[in-house]
Amino acid sequence: MPQVTIDNKSVDVPHGTLIVEAAKQVGIEIPVFCYHPKLQPVGMCRMCLVEVGTPKRGKDGQIERDANGAPVIAWMPKLQTACTTVVSDGMMVRTDTAQVADARRAIIEFLLTSHPLDCPICDKGGECPLQNLTMAYGPGQSRFPVESKFHNEKRVPLGDLIMLDRERCIQCARCVRFQTEIADDPVLGFAARGRGLEIVTLSDPPFDSKFSGNTIDTCPVGALTSRDFRLSARVWEVRDYPSVCAHCSVGCNLWIGERDRTIKRIVPRENEAVNEIWLCDKGRFVHHFATSSERLTQPLIRRNGDLQPATWNQALDLVATRLKEIQQHDPNAVGGLAGDRASNEDLYLFQKLFRRVIGSNNLDHRVGWSAANVGADLIRLYGAGIGTNLGALAHDTTALVLGADPEEEQPVIRLRLARSARVFGATLIVANGRLTKLAKYAKQSVVYRYGGESAFLLGMVRAIIDENLENIEFIRARVANFDAFKTALAPYTVERCAELSGVNADALRNAARAFAKSPDALILYGREAMFAQQNDPAVASGIATLLLITGHVGRANNGLVALYPHNNSTGAFDFGFLPDHGLGRAQVESKGLSAREMTCGKVRALYVMACDPALTSDSLVGTQQGESVRQDGFVKPEFLVVQDLFLTETAKLADVVLPAQSFAEREGTFTNTERRVQLFRAALKPVGEAKPDWWIVAEIGKRLVSGSNLKLETWDYAHALEITEEIAASVPLYKGMTCAALAENVKLPRPRSGQGNPSGEPAQIAMGELENISSGKMWASVAESDASAKFELVWKEPSSQYSVVSNQYVLAVARSLYDGGTLASRTKIVQPRVPAPYVEINSQDAEEIGIANGARVRVSFDARVIQVSARVNGHVPPGVVLMANNLDGTAALPMGARVKIEKV
């Protein structure tokens, strides 16, 4: 490792380290503007100039030494940029000389020549690198008269979310580079040059990116500010509370900035293992639901047909009385639906109420979600190993992403997988029935025929076995039934699987080789694969088989990640919100009722927490054998209790409505899609009389157990974290996940790609460590926690059911990041981002129907007809059309249905 001496402090650093990073390791901060640890260095701002020298070598190539034996240093005649200069062995750097101080002073003076110095009215003031570095290194006075300043526009909207102040821009290009290198939406650029240079966006809509908010954080001046937060508070008046995002399942860490009992802004909280320093725009801007004027503020009871305000005691007593009446008659006549937005504490108590007090196993969370048990067992057995870091998968790791569209569903995971592939050289195999944005980074992009998922997986398995690439050692030790499996597999040659899945046989073999030969490999499977699994059990067995015969389970960067839709979907599985699974994903003997059954009149009492089945009941539609199965609207049971933030469609039908607190008002834990359990804290005072979900459940529990032989004290909780402790003590998967353990500070390395690595492979070099951060805790899968566990290969015939019929198209259903959901629809600022309903169609098919891009078309299936505009492109293969669910008029689309498309 090269040794560098900076201001007389020596340090050994990895090959390829930049001076600015080496300096940090000896505690020397070199000031920068354009340099950003996550971006490629460009040396544009010149703030980091330092004196650099290297040992002088004589003609013989030997280092020259002075009388004392110390190397003679050849100092470079001019100052060098510390952000672009890579250290070499014996290098000397001086950052504390008069020459360096002069240079810094000159750069600051230069940057400020036309800067408006309007810090008192600038959002960045108080957390502005330009302000800070001017105080630290600037001249204090300018030699340029104020009148000579150039003036530029001060309010240039870059899209709906970001405001540009052209006067404040110092042309560092951090925003442009973020959009190009990290977000990979190159929609910001420089225009013109010199003094006239400005940041522009020419995309339609302007600044068309799901990550635009990050440019506010990376901007080192006040040029880019949030249109949402703009001028609403000074940053030092905002109190930051650590929280976890309440939207998708990535579980990004964030700070809720509170002032005056409202959320002023949300900014990312650094966690290298989850979201690095990024947030998507949904996570950053969609928070207004928490402080919406539509929030429920007090309990409501239906009297004479109307919902009327009541006290908590009246409401809770009524709920307890009615539930008890119905339960005493038949416990199985009581059902519970809980949304996967609720915290682990809420879910745990809710299931405890049902399983221990009411005596019913009628629990489900899959409202507006497919009817299949998508991955409860797979994840318990083969979930990705602890320590898996999706943003730093190395060149010896292969990730198969199956049937997922993380760009829309888990945006930060898309960002991180792209980083793994582009920066660290990980191999991505992206397989789906259509092309997604992620396919761009794939070494191998596979488009199979929808319905051919299992044949695709089996084809990979067969190719691995044909080429003897299976992990024999692992199979011998841990896998049962391999020979029988092989026998069953015999008729399925790679060619046959290729035909069934619509994938080229060589593509199958290449994918199989990459997956099997890779030292580390994992599978991420998303919504489209889960929907396929619902019809085709061979998808689940295919995933398991692929992992088992290659031995890619039970270690970091190996195993399975299920890309679920919501922030606590994993928690809902963990606490057994499935008719056939109990607490801790254990299979149960006596199956309860499913969400679909509970909402069509099979229970007398229904307790609904944090979900809206009446709104989405239509989407309890699945497909079986290509025919869609639908269910008519929500049937109100005899007694309906709804506990939510808003008067939802279901709440409007309820007998009792209980106002719950949003994630910003209470604390608890969420489990993200990697099974990482993370703590979040309260930031706001409760809205009205709203109570946390767990408190409401506990109060009902107390009332139900009073007078019974069940002990009362088990329902007394002072705060949510007492429940967290109870979970840690009583749920095996969460064993030891106490608050202290979850909040434990760890050191996380911040990897960065190395340059000039002699082996030619991208290396990960640490840029120091991130200290005093809790990264949450993942629970261990069986493959990881039990080294002696044996796994059985299960043979399931693959199917290929969505064959193409002439004049009909297979409907693929996607999700749009911004849609008409309960939370997003209550945030005005993102409404322009919600797309109008559309159908994506292949250009070849469009030509046959005679439609052009943007044309209105009529999509019909079953008894439904929807008019939408057509997007003609090459993202969907011929014979397939794609629509996004839950936009205006497109709720409850049945995946895989056959649809007709006609020109309007």
Binding site: D185, P186, V187, L188, G189, F190, A191, A192, R193, V200, T201, L202, S203
Partner: protein, 157 residues
């Protein structure tokens, strides 16, 4: 907006570079030769052809001064603003020319006839001050009278 011929020429250009993005500059030149300038539609077409975003192509087209992002007049005047011409009174002449045309350097006359640009050395220092008309006609030893004549001629053409 680009002709099929221009598009196929650009397609050919793409094959000349290891990375097709590298063809953006010759593609812009080609488009400008055909269309006369680079309107938004052309920027979009080139972006699609070379696989860049519209914003990125715009950055290139605005960085280099010889790409025209604004519709030029029927005639373009490049007026040398370099040292030898300046020593022979070019600054004063340029100011007069601007008054005659009613527009500043970098702008186009209201009637859309003439666009005036400052230029660096036009290679005629021994006959300074010099000006280039429409990229082909080199006028030398400029005087106020000569400018009057030229402006009159171009306005009437």
């Amino acid at each position: 907006m680009l002709s099929d011929n221009a598009k196929s020429e650009i397609q050919k250009l793409l094959t000349k570079y290891p990375n097709p993005r590298s063809a953006v500059m010759p593609a812009l030149h080609l488009a400008q030769r055909e269309v006369g300038w680079l309107p938004d539609e052309v920027i979009q077409e080139i972006a699609d052809l070379v696989g860049m975003s519209k914003t990125e192509v715009n950055s290139v087209a605005t960085f280099y001064t010889m790409y025209a992002r604004a519709r030029p007049g029927a005639h373009t005047l490049l007026f040398c603003a370099d040292l030898p011409c300046a020593l022979r009174g070019a600054e004063d002449l340029l100011a007069r020319l601007e008054r005659k045309l009613g527009c500043r350097a970098g702008e186009t006359t209201a009637d859309g006839k003439i666009t005036l640009h400052k230029a660096e050395c036009l290679g005629g220092c021994n006959h300074a001050p010099v000006m280039l008309i429409d990229g082909v006609e080199h006028v030398q030893d400029l005087t106020d009278e000569k400018l009057d004549e030229i402006v009159k001629r171009l306005r009437e053409s």
